[in-house]
């Protein structure tokens, strides 16, 4: 008992400000967010994600992922209500989309009659940007942990930088090239995209992005697109039957303001954006932490060309078409420089103590989506 009293004595009666719990902030933010369910659920593509309510009428802001490729979008509100939703507009350059909640018996142009808690996006965009070192809280339905009235997951972290992104989704370079907040917390888990990054008092800072890897290190990158993001893109437009290059300035607040009203026109995009990526293998490598990380296979995407060719996790790629491959970077560079969908390459892999030769017909890249490799094999 003596020890017990010692322990109790050690308790400090009042927690000071520096250790304020965030329970009220978490409660409040959770009411302004939705769990989002849509396309996916196969080939390791998530069919779940997150969204941020941006009007009391039920406009939802989220990431422009494959999740939205369905007419059967469903949102779960904080109170457990399950409602349908539809895509209003997508801006690929911001990697963002605006959805509208549908209420049974109401036409799309009619007011929904909903009166939901929401983030005032325009006001959020006017606030100063967060600076490196600022605390943030990330809210999302990562790993589909929450359903119905179960609250979203909250995580605390620190802004590491506001910078330009150098990332990739699968082997594709990332479509968005504006500023991002990079955070030190692992916010960008499966299903987290479209989540909210907020200040420590629950003010919206940005939209949690996809699961991507840094294309220099192949390590996962945790980022959010700031509410005041702006990008300039050069697009080709036809003017008097002539292709003219034009610069478009796209801002996040403008997209949201006009998108909710239904009069936003997305920037035209080059349909062949994947050109030059080379053929698609379906191999997933170990994190590319060192500049010369050997090309060890971490996972093979099911039904991919690599899976059909017989690649296995832990294979070490040693030669492709007779060329020695010293690193993950060398492998990716070889594919970019020498192959395209349809090309067949001969790959020598070291498997255990022996060298095995595999014939790999490269395929087409799957749609521009977050491609999740399978989990590591059962040990």
């Amino acid at each position: 008992m003596r020890i017990a009293s010692l322990l109790i004595l050690a308790l400090i009666p009042n927690l000071s400000l520096g250790a304020d719990p965030f329970d009220k902030v978490c409660d409040d933010v959770n009411t302004k967010m939705v769990k989002l369910f849509g396309a996916g659920g196969f080939s390791r593509l998530n069919n779940f994600g997150t969204g941020v309510l941006i009007s009391k009428e039920g406009h939802v802001l989220t990431v422009a992922s494959q999740l939205l490729d369905t007419s059967d979008l469903v949102v779960h509100l904080y109170d457990g209500r399950r409602l349908r939703a539809e895509v209003m507009v997508i801006e690929q350059e911001l990697d963002a989309a605006i959805l509208r909640i549908r209420v049974e018996g109401k036409k799309p142009e009619e007011p929904t009659g909903l009166d939901l808690p929401y983030f005032d996006f325009a006001e959020a965009a006017k606030r100063p940007s967060a600076a490196p070192g600022d605390w943030i809280i990330g809210f999302s339905n990562m790993y589909e942990i929450a359903l119905r009235d179960e609250p979203l997951s909250a995580m605390r972290g620190v802004i590491a930088a506001r910078t330009k992104l150098s990332g990739r989704v699968g082997v594709f370079d990332f479509p968005y090239n504006g500023d991002v907040y990079v955070v030190d917390q692992i916010t960008n888990n499966p299903g987290a995209s479209g989540g909210a990054l907020t200040t420590r008092d629950g003010k919206l800072l940005g939209l949690i992005g996809r699961e991507i890897k840094n294309n220099q290190t192949e390590t996962n990158l945790n980022y959010a697109i700031p509410v005041n993001a702006a990008v300039s893109v050069t697009v080709k437009v036809k003017e008097k039957d002539m292709d003219v290059e034009k610069t478009l300035n796209i801002s996040f607040p403008d997209f949201v303001a006009r998108g909710m009203k239904g009069d936003y026109k997305p920037a035209p995009r080059d349909k062949n954006a994947t050109k030059g990526d080379g053929g698609y293998s379906g191999l997933v490598f170990v994190p590319n932490i060192l500049s010369r990380t050997p090309a060890y296979v971490e996972a093979v995407i099911p039904d991919s060309p690599a899976a059909k060719a017989g690649f296995r996790p832990d294979d070490l790629i040693s030669f492709v078409d007779g060329e020695p491959i010293a690193s993950i970077a060398a492998w990716l560079e070889y594919l970019r420089a020498h192959t395209r969908p349809g090309t067949t390459v001969r790959v020598d892999v070291r498997r255990g103590e022996s060298l095995t030769t595999l014939t790999l017909p490269l395929g087409n890249h799957p749609p521009r989506t977050v491609v999740a490799p399978p989990p590591p094999p059962k040990k």
Partner: protein
């Protein structure tokens, strides 16, 4: 190891170069006092908790997981998936740098919890321990501390501390999402780093109270380390099983004997209803029917299928819990016993398309086969089916019975007992005369309430109907016979079973017969002794405070309602022996009646 060290020194160099100019520009005095205070509090809490944090090791000293000491005798909580590979005898390292031999005490395989006991270096020397908190008060956004031995990194067992937010509460992590049979119900989700080797270690609130036992992480396609999603088994769930653990029981979870699910998956708001019901379940005997809406279960509002699974997962089998159901416009509260999970109901990995299971954060892989026979812990191990370690059942049982004996030693009056007084069956009232006599070749019970009832418990050809006399009592005379035997003969009188049954809630109605505000409000937690004599089993409920017998249940057979007897008005029955003078007898959902004893005659 070399690599890690190199990284560490590189980081330190980096830190030093950054810090020097910064320190010049901004003196430390500029740091907000609140921040400094918070840091000081954290440091103080960690310092107080560290001595009680355990590094669980296989015998021989290789660390494979974590744990935490919860009482001065050295009982410590950890994960089942940590103790399982370690075996029954293991070693536990504390922050004092010592390795203590330890033995498994109790476990919950499905809930992934185990209790072990550390053996002190000097007999009777108390261990540092932590206080159990209340995990129902944990909120999303609260701070938390996880402590343990991730990656088995601390060779001197100094615990590693990580600090982070509670990301979610009341989380349901199903069986099948990981290998093994465990299911995390009503658990706490944290962004506090949980890594391999943290398994079994404590999660604390910032007051330094134990709120959970860390045991799982999500990482899916990432490597098997923290990805910001860790799970701890809530301490309130563990508290429900703790009495069973201390009694060495291999605990099991329960089923309602009914399928509870969403009425309509696509409806706006969820309504939880009973979908299927086993005829022989207690739920069916309580009059529940398919389609009844479940409003509350074990004190919690039913809002989702996950919430139902959460609540069910916190209950040991055979517990009795309150439940509120609505049929039409009427709602009613009832007490229902949760039962053994029958094999058909055991959740399995049904969905072949479900994601492949991914490993848990721990334990670290271990080599096999240490020789533990020389360990002092080996003397504290007794293997028996149904128990993890029957030695501790005997210890707890004998401790409880010794405490109960302080209220009276009835072995000196093991002859005929007679009592007189009045009975009150509601409609009928009158004088009562009862006699229990075991000292004859043909033991009997006589009960006179206008009509004379009698029972010869071992009469050949005793029909179930006769055994359950008087009608509507569920076997009051059989109950009285067993009560007499329990008090006067004790262990020797129960050839079938005489063991500690852990902790269970009991719901004694007010002694004066008044209507309680709710059935839930009646709950008293009691230590249970289970007995079996002939084909009759009984459960004896002893007060946790003073071991006084609060009541007992007598089961004439499996799958029938027991005769429940509740004891009130304890007074001297002669010779300083304390006995209840008001007995409430209940059967099913009804009160059979009261027996008010004016005078006992014990021989």
């Amino acid at each position: 190891m070399k690599h890690v060290l190199a990284t560490a020194s590189a980081i330190m160099l980096g830190a030093v170069t950054c810090l020097i100019p910064a320190a010049g520009a901004q003196p430390p005095a500029a740091i907000e006092k609140a921040v400094i205070d918070a840091e000081a509090e954290r440091v103080a809490v960690v310092a107080k908790l560290s001595p009680a944090v355990v590094a669980v090791c296989i015998y021989g000293g290789q660390a494979i997981g974590s744990g935490v000491v919860i009482d001065p005798e050295g009982y410590a909580l950890t994960n089942h998936h940590v103790t399982q590979p370690a075996g029954a005898i293991m070693q536990c390292g504390l922050a004092d740098g010592n390795l203590y031999d330890a033995v498994i005490v109790g476990q919950d395989k499905i809930g992934d919890v185990a209790l072990v006991k550390l053996i002190p270096k000097e007999p009777g020397k108390p261990f540092p321990f932590v206080k159990l908190g209340d995990s129902d008060t944990v909120k999303i956004g609260d701070w938390s501390l996880a402590m343990g031995n991730p990656f088995s990194i601390a060779l001197d067992f100094t615990p590693t501390v990580t600090y982070g937010l509670v990301s979610g509460t009341n989380r349901y992590e199903p069986m099948g999402s990981r290998p093994g049979i465990s299911e995390y119900t009503d658990c706490i989700q944290v962004d506090t780093s949980i890594n391999p080797g943290n398994s079994g270690g404590p999660l604390f609130n910032m007051k330094g109270e134990l709120i959970g036992i860390n045991g799982r992480i999500n990482f899916e396609k990432r490597v098997r380390i923290n990805s910001g999603v860790g799970y701890a088994i809530s301490i309130n769930q563990i508290k429900n099983f703790l009495g069973h653990f201390y009694a060495g029981i291999d605990t099991d979870h329960a089923s309602l004997g009914a399928v509870v699910g969403t009425a309509d998956e696509t409806s706006d708001l969820q309504k939880m209803v009973i979908k299927q019901l086993l005829d022989e379940s207690d739920a069916a005997r309580r009059g529940l029917a398919e389609g009844d809406q479940v409003m509350k279960f074990a004190g919690r509002k039913m809002t989702s299928a996950n919430m139902y699974k959460n609540i069910l997962g916190t209950l040991p089998k055979e517990w009795r819990v309150p439940m509120t159901v609505r049929v039409g416009a009427k709602s009613r509260e009832l007490l229902v016993r949760v039962q053994n999970i029958t094999p058909g109901e055991k959740p399995t990995r049904e969905d072949p398309m479900a994601p492949m299971p991914t490993p848990r954060p721990g334990p670290m892989p271990v080599p096999k086969g240490p020789n533990t026979t020389a360990s002092p812990a080996a003397k504290l191990l007794k293997v028996k089916p149904g128990y993890v370690n029957y030695h501790f059942n005997e210890v707890q049982r004998d401790k409880l019975l010794a405490a109960a004996k302080k209220l009276g030693d009835f072995t000196t009056v093991a002859g005929a007992w007679t009592a007189e007084g009045g009975y009150d069956l509601g409609e009928r009232k009158g004088a009562i005369k009862l006699e229990v006599n075991e000292k004859t070749a043909d033991p009997f019970v006589k009960l006179g309430m206008n009509i004379e009832f009698s029972l010869h418990p071992f009469e050949s050809g005793l029909t179930p109907r006769a055994a359950a006399e008087p009608v509507g009592s569920g076997g009051l005379m059989m109950a009285l016979y067993h009560w007499h035997r329990y008090l006067t003969v004790g262990a020797k009188g129960f050839e079938g079973d005489f063991s500690h049954g852990g902790t269970e809630p009991l719901y004694p109605f007010p002694a004066d017969g008044s209507v309680p505000t709710s059935l839930a409000s009646l709950r008293v937690d009691a230590d249970v002794i289970r007995t079996k004599h002939g084909s009759v089993t009984c459960k004896w409920y002893h007060s946790k405070a003073d071991a006084k017998l609060l009541g007992f249940e007598t089961y004439l057979s499996k799958d029938t309602d027991p005769c429940e007897v509740y004891f009130h008005d304890y007074k001297d029955a002669g010779g300083g022996l304390l006995l209840p003078h008001r007995l409430e007898v209940r059967f099913g959902d009804k009160r059979y009646g009261y027996i008010n004893i004016a005078k006992y005659n014990l021989k």
